[in-house]
């Protein structure tokens, strides 16, 4: 059955259409693959019954000639997307037992197009983390290992389960979410294609909120074309989300022409970090050469406020999070600890102390602090101003270029525990992804090479607002040029 699980979405779609395979066969193969991969800890909830039911419905739909591109495609769903009647807890203990009565718009779009749900995917608690080590359900293991090594690596985060499920051939695609890099950084760590659209392209309705002004749904797939297919399914205006934007969703797949002649590619000079591994610089340079060879024009650009992006992000995101997470109070759903004393404040204290992990508590405290009287102007307000300057940097630069090319992350996947005691080192993972998040721009991480030990590395393509098509187009060219054939060996099976 390995054959079916290594198919790309585009391949499966075409085979389903002509009847070479059935959605049921496809689902069964993936359900079996999920069952062999418990050691990776990517799925925290499996939904095989749902998958088979949806697969049969997909087969009927294909037969009736009513199929969409995602019909019959088995996917995994990050645990922060509400799935009706199914565990939705953002991998936090505080949402213990929570099963929503509603469906997120992103997943509803997938089901409307006939996709098949394999289960819910592990993630950093409330999407706060860059290694998937903050999950209440334990860390996810990266399907990739260094050459000749039996050591485990982190998959990146927060969408660790999403990337592991796709890199580990359990799901053909996975939903993910990106607040400061939670799609792109783990995609880079696992050799998958991660796509984060323009803020407002996807509805946030039914997505457990981390930082509302930054959170955006996206996809993890094994190819750029698959990303285009899946993104087109999940995107779209939603009246239930005031920040989603009323625009038609383009045919992203049609943008994959491979022709980038004359396209101007910006290389932000501020992304040359001191102390960055030489192989990251080398890969970046290689990417530049590939795009140049494909006919693109390379332009050095400046984004002068780049160095303020990380501190700005770590004020804005925790500020919003501290407020967004106030609703987890033990009153209406999820965990409730009554605490000593039996009063309301005792219940709040006990519930939130027991329900939130260390990293979530750290961010709630940072966020509460920066919004407090006397500190608001110095932190939150200043951060908002800097955020505008960062967005202005991009706006100015994009007047002159069509896309930007940067490394996705400053390193390859690292070992468990390596950075979990050092928040600042951990936060540095997002140094290349955070600026575009603050500006709400579309971005992708394309698998582009391996480091010396054989671990994947990605390059990041950033685009203008609403110009996902060019990001896909350039990603496709990069993917083809990189022509990566390396795969994780299936050590967990």
């Amino acid at each position: 059955m390995t054959g079916l699980t290594t198919l790309k979405i585009s391949e499966a779609r075409d085979m389903l259409a002509v009847g070479d395979i059935s959605a049921r066969e496809l689902a069964e193969a993936h359900i079996a693959a999920v069952d062999t991969a418990d050691g990776l800890n990517a799925f925290i909830v499996k939904t095989p019954e749902v998958a088979l039911k949806q697969a049969d419905a997909a087969d009927a739909r294909i037969k009736a000639g009513d199929a969409k591109a995602m019909t019959g495609i088995p996917v995994g769903i990050k645990d922060l997307f509400a799935t009706k009647g199914i565990h939705t807890q953002a991998c936090s203990h505080i949402l213990r037992g929570f099963k929503p009565e509603y469906e997120s718009t992103v997943t509803q779009n997938l089901w409307d197009d006939g996709a098949v749900m394999l289960g819910k995917l592990n993630m950093d608690e409330f999407a706060m983390g860059s290694s998937n080590e903050t999950s209440y359900y334990g860390p996810v293991k990266n399907p990739w290992r260094a050459k000749g090594s039996n050591s485990d690596y982190v998959p990146g985060g927060s969408s660790g389960g999403s990337v592991a499920s796709v890199a580990g051939y359990m799901a053909m695609g996975a939903t993910a979410s990106d607040t400061g890099g939670s799609i792109r950084q783990p995609a880079s760590f696992t050799g998958t294609f991660g796509f984060k659209p323009t803020y407002g392209r996807c509805s946030r309705y039914g997505m457990v909120a981390f930082a509302s002004s930054l959170d955006q749904a996206g996809t993890i797939t094994r190819s750029v074309r698959d990303g285009a297919i899946m993104m087109e399914s999940i995107a779209g205006f939603d009246i239930k989300d005031s920040t989603s934007v009323k625009m038609d969703v383009p045919n992203f797949e049609a943008a994959l022409t491979g022709d980038i002649r004359g396209l101007r590619v910006g290389i932000p000079q501020e992304y040359h970090l001191a102390g960055m591994p030489g192989e990251i610089e080398a890969l970046w340079h290689q990417g530049i050469e590939w795009l140049k060879a494909a006919g693109a024009e390379i332009v050095d650009i400046n984004l002068p406020h780049t160095k303020y992006a990380l501190p700005t992000y770590y004020i804005v995101a925790p500020a919003e999070a501290s407020s967004n997470l106030s609703r987890y109070d033990g009153v209406r759903y999820g965990l409730r600890e009554t605490g000593e004393g039996g009063g309301l404040n005792d219940m709040y204290d006990a519930t939130r102390a027991a329900g939130f992990g260390q990293e979530v508590k750290r961010r709630i405290m940072i966020g509460t602090y920066v919004l407090s009287a006397g500190y608001y102007d110095a932190y939150y307000l200043k951060a908002q101003r800097v955020r505008r300057l960062i967005a202005d940097d991009f706006k100015r630069a994009f007047a002159n270029v069509d896309v930007m090319l940067t490394p996705t992350a400053p390193s390859a996947a690292f070992a468990f525990g390596e950075k979990s005691d050092d928040p600042l080192a951990m936060y540095l993972n997002d140094v290349f992804t955070v600026p575009a998040s603050l500006a709400g721009l579309p971005g992708a991480s394309v698998p582009a090479g391996l480091d010396a030990s054989g671990l994947p590395l990605g390059l990041q393509i950033l685009g203008k607002p609403w110009d996902e098509e060019t990001v896909f187009k350039v990603s496709g060219v990069l993917e083809e040029a990189a022509a990566i054939t390396a795969k994780p060996d299936l050590w967990w099976r």
Binding site: F98, V208, S213, L344
Partner: protein, 494 residues
């Protein structure tokens, strides 16, 4: 008349500002589609958004925005075409999100002005600082169980307007007149039903005192005062409390207090140490509210005639005295009833509105209001409609019945709900103006009372009243009094 509190040493002036919370009359809540009906069973009008389920997002109800703009226009206020919803963060069991969505830095309505009628032709202007929109919280119920608190989220997310006044009021009467005026305006334009008993309108009262000529003193905020009487009482006792403290050499702590109408005192709700830091910041789930002049003008076009304008029209065009006009326009339902009554009366009698208006207003404020008051009813559940009232008054106008008989007819109308014509017909109350018939009766009466006639003729002119009374009695009150007078005098004079 200046309101002063006489302390042991000095006279003190009281300075009052109000924050009125008015529930917007809207079928749906401010950010969700849930219903807002009063008195529904607990937790039956709660959407996923109101319960703050994970991943739920608020979306602005445009009708609430429109009502906010109409309210601002009715208070002659600046309308802000750009406003922002902020989060006011605090924990409480009946606040599901852990924050209230409100407007902090950029409210939808800016400065306005409201004129109060203080009697004897005097008016008092009170500045409106701002009006902003916000969500209501749910309700904690501590009396349902010995140990547990129950939470009802029906009100959670209901749209409120907070109308903030300047500290312009100087007496309890001015403060209650202000609340009454705001209530009147809101009810006129229909943006709030103004029902203080049901909590759809309530006031936070800021009170401070100062010696005459001094700067503003430290204020205390008395929360959730829910009647005009309590507004006055709360200010009286709070101002006195502050004066007593100052005269004892103490200082006033700025704090939130609660008015206890049973004990007639205010009590501290929470101290400064427990004061909230609300950590306001713009709600990232919502875009700023922006609209254009056309939206404002469309809202303006839906405004009815407002009480101040109506009052001026009643006095100037209908010649109504200022007091009566004030009484009639204070409540929109009363003013509407009066206008319907007058219109019907004009239609029935073909008389000029200004000629007949005093009769209509006298009957309304005297007879109908009196009867309603006695029966514990309001103009909204009057058993006598404006049209029926006009029919009754028209019968007086065309001489069918006398004013005296009309009062009896009205009593029957009020009790039975029957029309005036039917009652007059049924009871045979039609006024007799036939001179022949009345003359015959007069002749009988005069003949039957020779003693009184002799006295009259000897100079006791007042006895004419006796004869009129006898004639009216003989006709069951139906004789037209002016015809009786006209015929009787020559007979008595001989």
């Amino acid at each position: 008349m200046t309101y002063l509190i006489q302390g042991a040493k000095d006279d003190f002036e009281v300075v009052i500002g109000l924050e009125i919370h008015a529930q917007i009359s809207s079928k749906a809540k401010l950010f969700s589609g849930a219903a807002t009906e009063f008195g529904a069973k607990p937790n039956t009008q709660v959407s996923l958004v109101d319960a703050a389920m994970p991943g739920m997002l608020p979306t602005i109800n445009a009708e609430c925005i429109r009502q906010g703009v109409r309210t601002g226009l009715a208070m002659n206020a600046e309308i802000n075409k750009f406003s922002v919803f902020d989060r006011k963060n605090y924990f409480y069991a009946d606040l599901p999100q852990g924050y209230q969505i409100s407007q902090f830095k950029h409210p939808i309505v800016g400065r306005g002005l409201v004129a109060l009628d203080m009697g004897e032709g005097k008016t008092k202007n009170v500045g409106v600082e701002r009006i902003h929109l916000e969500q209501d919280a749910g309700k904690s119920m501590h009396d349902q169980h010995p140990q547990l608190t129950y939470v009802d989220l029906n009100r959670s997310g209901v749209a409120l307007m907070e109308i903030v006044s300047d500290p312009d009021m100087r007496s309890p009467e001015e403060a209650s007149a202000y609340v009454a005026k705001i209530r009147s305006i809101l009810r006129y334009i229909g943006s709030c039903d103004g029902n203080m008993e049901q909590g759809s309108m309530r006031a936070d009262v800021n009170v401070s005192v100062r010696k005459l000529g001094e700067g503003l003193g430290t204020r205390c905020e008395i929360k959730n005062v829910n009647s005009l009487r309590f507004v006055r009482q709360a200010i009286e006792v709070e101002a006195q409390r502050q004066v007593d403290i100052i005269e004892d050499g103490g200082t006033i702590d700025q704090e939130t207090r609660l008015f206890d109408p049973v004990k007639g005192e205010t009590r501290s709700m929470r101290s400064k140490e427990e004061a909230h830091d609300y950590r306001y910041f713009p709600d990232p789930d919502l875009l700023p509210v922006e609209f254009d002049d056309a939206f404002i003008e469309a809202a303006r076009a839906t405004l009815p005639e407002l009480p101040d304008v109506k009052r001026a029209r009643f006095t100037q065009e209908l010649g109504m005295n200022d007091y009566t006009a004030g009484v009639l326009v204070a409540e929109k339902d009363q003013a509407d009833f009066f206008e319907a009554l007058l219109a019907a009366l004009v239609a029935l009698t073909k008389k000029d509105a200004s000629t007949i208006a005093p009769k209509a207003s006298n009957w309304l404020t005297g007879d109908l209001f009196g009867a309603l008051n006695k029966a514990g009813k309001t103009i909204n559940d009057t058993p006598v409609s404006a049209q029926e009232g006009a029919e009754l008054l028209a019968l007086i106008e065309d001489g069918t019945i006398s004013g005296r008989i009309a009062k009896d007819v009205f009593e029957i109308m009020f009790e039975t709900g029957k029309g005036a014509d039917a009652i007059v017909e049924e009871k045979g109350l039609k006024q007799v103006s036939d001179t022949g018939a009345i003359e015959a009766i007069i002749d009988e009466i005069v003949a039957a009372n020779p003693g009184q006639l002799a006295q009259y003729r000897s100079g006791k002119n007042k006895l004419i009243g006796f004869f009129v009374g006898q004639v009216m009695k003989a006709t069951g009150g139906k004789a037209n009094p002016s015809v009786v007078n006209q015929l009787l005098k020559p007979k008595l004079d001989g």
